[in-house]
Amino acid sequence: MFEIGLTHYLVVATLLFVMGIFVMITKRNAIGILIGVEMVLNGANINLVAFNRYNGMSNIDGQIVSLFVIVLAAAEAALAVAICMNFYKNLNTVDVDHGDTLAG
């Protein structure tokens, strides 16, 4: 219980990941979905860093990959917010259910 190991971190990561998926499924707001994506990425990142830590840390591959993930998440968020604004400009809402038209 008080001996924290890899499994502890993996459980937290899993739960965060699943919550992110739940948010992505249930939210209608495009930015809400983006928040879900960020949660999923964070869950994955905890995995990477935890595996790095509990494999001796003789190299830091996990951390470097998680750095790439963070950078990509930032880029993805910038683009996604731009898309949201375009979406809003065209449809006057950010409800993704209204995005099923090709009219644009």
Binding site: T7, V18, R28, M39, R53, Y54, L67
Partner: protein
């Protein structure tokens, strides 16, 4: 005129957070002094304190995540996301990944989150924009996610992970980072730089008004 107990408790939160951060991994007896002088933690074998710290972080992470799931208000969701991100950053500190923790704070909490809030403010018709979701949909999503979570947890708990618990750090992790980024990971690093540039131009182009 009353100063309620709640206020006092809230006042204590920064102290509590500070304490939890400060007492993060306690250094082991065989700490190499030259390394600790450079501010490098070589190993986290803090026992009780580390455990408490971990449970606090995990608790905040999951509570905020759960609050995001339940919340209907998009700005509140963003604030809860901030809580999640900060707690995950603390968890990185616990995992001896200081640099990743800091980057998480500066890029995620300081940059991406602000971008999200900008997005919210630019696209919400009223400040209280809410979107209704059908109850049946919620239940279905909950069941699916619960099943998925159960499956993943089963795998995670029962799997045999190859472990090397003795953490060995040679020099600063920052040095490793720098060397890694300019040697082994040079190609992905450059690719990501180019990607960032493209994304920057693309985002500016897309958000622009015709």
């Amino acid at each position: 005129m009353t100063l309620r107990l709640k206020k006092i408790l809230l006042l204590m939160t920064p102290l509590a957070i500070a304490l939890s951060f400060a007492t993060a991994p306690v250094q082991a007896a065989d700490t190499d002094l030259s390394l600790s002088d450079q501010g490098i933690q070589t190993s986290a074998d803090g026992g009780l304190l580390e455990a408490l710290m971990f449970y606090a972080c995990a608790g905040v992470t999951l509570a905020c995540g759960f609050a995001i799931c339940l919340s209907k208000n998009i700005v509140r969701m963003a604030v809860y996301l901030f809580g999640t991100l900060a707690a995950v950053a603390l968890m990185y500190f616990l995992l001896l990944a200081n640099f990743i923790g800091v980057i998480q704070l500066i890029v995620y909490a300081g940059g991406t989150l602000i971008l999200l809030i900008f997005g919210v403010m630019l696209t919400s018709k009223s400040p209280w924009a809410k979107f209704e979701v059908k109850r049946s949909e919620l239940i279905a999503a909950g069941i699916v996610c619960a099943l998925f979570a159960g499956m993943l947890l089963f795998v995670v708990v029962n799997a045999e992970w190859p472990l090397e618990t003795d953490a060995v750090v040679v020099g600063s992790s920052m040095t490793q980072f720098g060397t890694g980024l300019l040697t082994d990971y040079l190609v992905p690093f450059e690719a990501i730089s180019v990607l960032l540039l493209v994304v920057m131009i693309g985002a500016a182009y897309m958000a622009r008004q015709e």
